[in-house]
Amino acid sequence: MGSEGLIAQVQVEGITKHFETKREGKVTALRAVDLAVQNGEIVSIIGPSGCGKSTLLYMIAGLLVPSSGRILVDGSPVNGPDPKIGIIFQEFRIFPWRTALENVVFGLEMRRIGTAAERARIARKYLHMVGLEGIDERLPKELSGGMKQRVAIAQTFACDPEVVLMDEPLGSVDSLTRETLQDEVLRIWQESGKTILLVTHSIEEAIYLGQRVIVMSPRPGRIIREFSVPLPFPRSAAMRTGPVVADLRTEIWALIREGGGA
């Protein structure tokens, strides 16, 4: 998956990010990160906690500004949030005062796309896509963790973004729900053809969901290695316990454990 010649859909060039913290003073969260994600790819980023992988996503989404370097999406520099770059946050940050349907129409409503009836129709399509039926009028407090995460996925996809960033989207659901949702994410990726870049702290999840797995070092975060996952799509439950995942897992685990000396 080289990026020679062609401009990648998401192009991260020499990004460094410093933070000013009260306790530790100036902290370098990321150092000289280069990354290219092609149109339609699904790529996982993995690394120890605090390695700046979420910070990287927030910068691609235009929510944080890099200290140096630049980020291009579709060839143009990112300055500020843009609905064409969707992001799904940890722990389902949907709006608690809006019903499931109202949450999914949010982006369309803000940008005044279509009539209210048209927006509701679009939202129902996306709720259907994530396997939620008959819960339109329910408030988030009346939904399970897995359902809330599905609403969050529908909310982001309803904006029809070109790139979808996922920040540990399945980190706070139980392991059974998590495996189901992983398969849903893959199905949605295949059906929608969107570019997906996801951050996770589960090695198995990174391998199972990604065409490529990018491994980051502890702070200051750098990309230390990149693995191609030689598994075809659609992926199956058998692959989770198969030799490809097991071998890659061992290799990535060793890399992370030795602290990314490379």
Binding site: D82, R93, P96, M110, R111
Partner: protein, 248 residues
């Protein structure tokens, strides 16, 4: 019905009051019986209803004025660094000041009529609403704001469609506190300078030894305060029904 049953202690107090007065344990000038007070309430129905209307008018005029300004100032403080750095020390310094201390000043500026009373009530209602709006909006989950911004919300939409609803439980608590203050200062101001209103009626009856009317006025003030607080509580539960009370 269950809600009413929970109020039985009030009935107990009223019964003890009635029995103590009837048994002649206390001078009727200090404590007329509850029934005599209620008879005074019925007998002076028109007078007291007019007084109640005046008091409610002042309380709500001041409350609406003070709460509206408080909402706007609180929003500005949460939204603009300059407003925050200028207003935060002022609000913090003035909030603990007993607002009644400002009344003589307001009378000098605004006269002895309605304006100074409404202004006093507005000042008292302003602070809890401003402070709670500010605190509530400052505490909005950064990820909710980010979620809205990445989905195309502009600055005004972010304020009105995300930050205000997210801060609503706080704002509403501030409003409820402000309502209590508004009633308190309405009665206080009426006791000092007025010739109508329940505060005036209570102090006037006391000075003219009409203990029954004084007690009728007190019972009426208490009942109105309680009813308005309950109404706000009910309204609040409907406005912020989305709140997940199990996790908060």
């Amino acid at each position: 019905m269950k809600g009413f049953l929970k109020l039985y202690p009030i009935a107990v107090v009223l019964i003890v009051w009635e029995m103590a007065a009837r048994a002649g344990l206390v001078d009727p000038l200090f404590l007329p019986s509850f029934s005599a007070s209620m008879q005074a309430l019925v007998a002076n129905y028109q007078l007291l209803a007019t007084d109640a209307a005046y008091s409610l008018g002042r309380a709500f005029a001041g409350l609406i004025l003070g709460a509206s300004v408080g909402l706007i100032i609180g929003m500005a403080m949460a939204r603009y660094r300059a407003a925050e750095s200028f207003l935060d020390p002022l609000v913090a310094a003035l909030f603990p000041t007993p607002k009644l201390a400002l009344f003589p000043l307001l009378m000098v500026w605004l006269g002895l009529g309605e304006a100074s009373k409404v202004a006093l009530i507005a000042v008292s209602a302003f602070f809890p609403v401003a402070i709670n709006t500010y605190a509530g909006m400052r505490g909005v989950d950064r990820f909710l704001i980010w979620n809205a911004r990445t989905k195309g919300a502009n600055a005004l939409q972010l304020l009105m469609r995300v930050m205000v609803p997210a801060a609503m439980p706080f704002i509403f608590t501030g409003l409820r506190v402000a309502t209590g203050y508004a009633f308190l200062l309405t009665v206080a101001a009426e006791m000092l300078t007025a010739n109508n209103g329940l505060g005036f009626r209570i102090i006037y009856s006391q000075r003219t030894f009409e203990a029954e009317t004084m007690y009728a006025g007190i019972v009426l003030v208490a009942t109105l305060g309680f009813a308005v607080d309950r109404l706000l509580g009910w309204l609040g539960r409907h406005l912020i029904a989305w709140q997940d009370t199990e996790t908060i």
